[in-house]
């Protein structure tokens, strides 16, 4: 089969590799019909995340048709059309039983690596680093899906791929970020980053009862999507000082909750940004937590800072003084996918939301390297690339 493989920083190639087969008896094999490039794939593309190996198949947002199931798969059968969550969960352990699926105790075969860097291992992920499982990803014609009865959900036949695909990651991720804010009537929510997760966080915040959402980015097309598709007010951080703009718009209170949908590769300007950038290049600091710093600094006293953005390692100059003295709450984590996929599928079916609004580009699987390059450079107003294997 064809698969998009990583061969180093900014080096991708669609290669012919062996087809996946059933290894554990709870596995299923999915023939992929749609697969997307995620912002977190760019962290891998840029070489910022350790423990990726040459030849690894990328991709963790995919859906398709079941073509084979292991002996112990009970709920799914060949021919079912499914969307697959990016995180792999066993469904049996302490964490899965408490619906903390992304903290699954058993799904990461390389847990020892994660324990070295993080203290404990979270769940294994598709198409990510070996530290997080090293499972072959879904930017391919086929993928092996472990714990098939726990992860994938069936997609109704009437629902097009473009609407269902983002149940694999970005929609539930934006939703969980907004849910973590425990939104009360009248709440004003600020969202850093208007990529797909940020845009879904805005939509989700409104669906959960937010009064106003203020979105922060620098790309005009993303700010436009936030305004026109999601109903947010926007701040262009290249034109305005974020803190001042937020204080002005909330009459000095600050946003009731702040969502950092940017993560470890935030952009900014000024000395702090250059310092972070230099430290990252010298490997003194793994992440550039600019959005997180701003979010903590701007958040209303007693508010919540919710972090769906991905961080990898160690961060400097986090304003813990502000965090402590303002009595903030920090909520974060990889998304507990299985908790949200079915209810959100129902919201799509009911017409409350059509997630396909984020798609800006559709390419053949063979064009994946070009898709990454375009997405990285934000060329041609790129917000979301969907790859179509076999197209």
């Amino acid at each position: 089969m064809k698969a998009n493989c990583w061969y180093g920083r900014h080096k991708l190639s669609v290669e012919d590799v062996p087809d996946p087969k059933i290894i554990n008896q709870t596995d299923a094999i999915v023939k992929i019909t749609s697969t997307a490039i995620c912002g977190s794939d760019l962290h891998l593309y840029n070489g910022y995340v350790p423990t990726l190996e040459h030849g690894d198949i990328l991709g963790h947002e995919f859906m398709g048709e079941i073509v084979e199931v292991g002996r112990d798969v009970k709920k799914l059968k060949v021919g079912d059309r499914v969307v697959v969550p990016f995180a792999i969960s066993c469904g049996q352990c302490y964490f899965c039983r408490r619906q903390l699926y992304s903290l699954c105790d058993n799904s990461n075969p390389n847990a020892w690596m994660a324990e070295k860097l993080l203290g404990h291992s979270p769940a294994g992920l598709f198409g990510y680093t070996h530290m997080l499982g090293g499972y072959a990803g879904g930017q391919a014609e086929y993928a092996r899906v472990p714990f098939a009865d726990v992860g994938p959900i069936k997609v109704p036949s009437g629902m097009p791929d473009d609407q269902a695909l983002f149940l694999s990651d970005v929609f539930p991720t934006g939703w969980m970020a907004a849910e973590a804010c425990n939104i009360q009537p009248g709440d004003v929510i600020a969202v850093w980053g208007c990529g797909p997760v940020g845009l879904f966080a805005i939509k989700s915040a409104y669906m959960l009862g937010a009064e106003r959402v203020i979105a922060i980015d620098r790309f005009p097309e993303r700010l436009r999507l936030a305004r026109e598709q999601c109903g947010a007010e926007t701040i262009d951080y290249m034109r305005e000082t974020v803190y001042d703009a937020l204080m002005e718009r909330t009459a000095g209170r600050g946003p009731d909750s702040c969502i950092d949908a940017v993560g470890m590769e935030a952009h900014g300007h000024g000395a702090m940004f250059l310092l972070d950038r230099a430290k990252q290049a010298l490997m003194i600091e793994t992440d550039r937590p600019i959005a997180l710093r701003e979010a903590i600094f701007a958040c209303r006293k007693g508010g919540t800072v919710s972090v769906p953005g991905v961080y990898g390692g160690f961060d400097d100059k986090i304003p813990l003084g502000a965090f402590m003295n303002k009595a903030l709450t920090l909520k974060t984590g990889q998304t507990h996918m299985q908790r949200y996929m079915q209810p959100l599928l129902e919201r799509i079916e009911n017409g409350e939301i059509d997630p396909s609004f984020i798609i800006t580009h559709k390419l053949k699987l063979e064009d994946a390297p070009r898709g990454y390059d375009m997405f990285l450079k934000k060329q041609d107003e790129c917000v979301k690339v969907v790859l179509k294997p076999g197209a």
């Binding site: 554990n24 198949i57 020892w112 072959a136």
Partner: protein
Amino acid sequence: MAMQTKNRSDELRMEGAMAGHSGELTERQQSSRRAPQAHRNGDTQRFAGSDGLAKALGWFSIGLGLAQITAPRGVANMIGLSDDRGFMRYLGAREMAAGIGILTQQYQSGWLWGRVAGDLMDLALLASAFRADDARRDRLAGATAAVLGVTLLDIMAAQQHSQSDTARRRSLRSDAIRSTKAITIDASPETLYRFWRNFENLPRFMDHLESVHVIDNKRSHWIARGPGGRKFAWDSEVIEDRPNAYIAWRSTGNADVRNTGNVRFDRAPGDRGTEVRVEIAYLPPAGQVGATIAWMMGQAPEQRIQENLRKLKQLFELGETPTTEGQPSGRKGVLSRLSPVGLLEEMR
């Protein structure tokens, strides 16, 4: 006769390393919950307590030495000594050597005692300066008080380190490779005890074991795989058995790898199953075989036991071990083996 003596000394080494048998082991395990124990691979933790003072003194030495070397006149003037740049620079070099020794050497006590000797020399120097006709007594008195204070700190640090260095040297002298690990498994202590008590089950989650054959209620025969397909065999006997709670065993007779181990099962709080704690120790024999085994077992023994326990957990929680072995990739030979992940795996 010589043989017997050797065996006896092995016995002592073994017991020293493994804190005796059964009853003592249990006590030791209980204490291990409170504080990290000294291991062959991780013995430094235990001695971290007095390090702060030693480090501070080390940096103080370097700072003072640097000042004495680069600005001898200034320093001499400050303490009220007459200007002898050469001698002051010599004192500076002595300070720096002590500082570097304290900060970089594994056994710091010698260097710390060196500082104490230096302090006494300084005090003698100051005493003789007092007797000089042109003595600036106010400054000399200040300097003497400061040196007395530092001497006191040096003696404290040197004493602390003498004790911990002795303990550390003693623990390193033992050749046994000893590891403890714990995991929480979602199964009852009864179930896990029953599974473990049938030693024939151990190869199902201990990768290096090829088979265990149970001979009778106490004795069993174990076969392990070594590097290059080499096999090691030994008999083992149960030395303590408390149903649903604790099992301890040790090798008997002429084992290739003398070893002992124990496992305890405690009900985890909050209905989370069982806390399983394992302690295993090996005493490799001398010679080539011993070196091979030491190499094999010494490859992150803690990690090995941790992985074995994880496999046991997956066996009970899932019925199988999730793996990525056999999945496709676009790997192209040599390159991937040189990758950081490949190297990490080699190092395990």
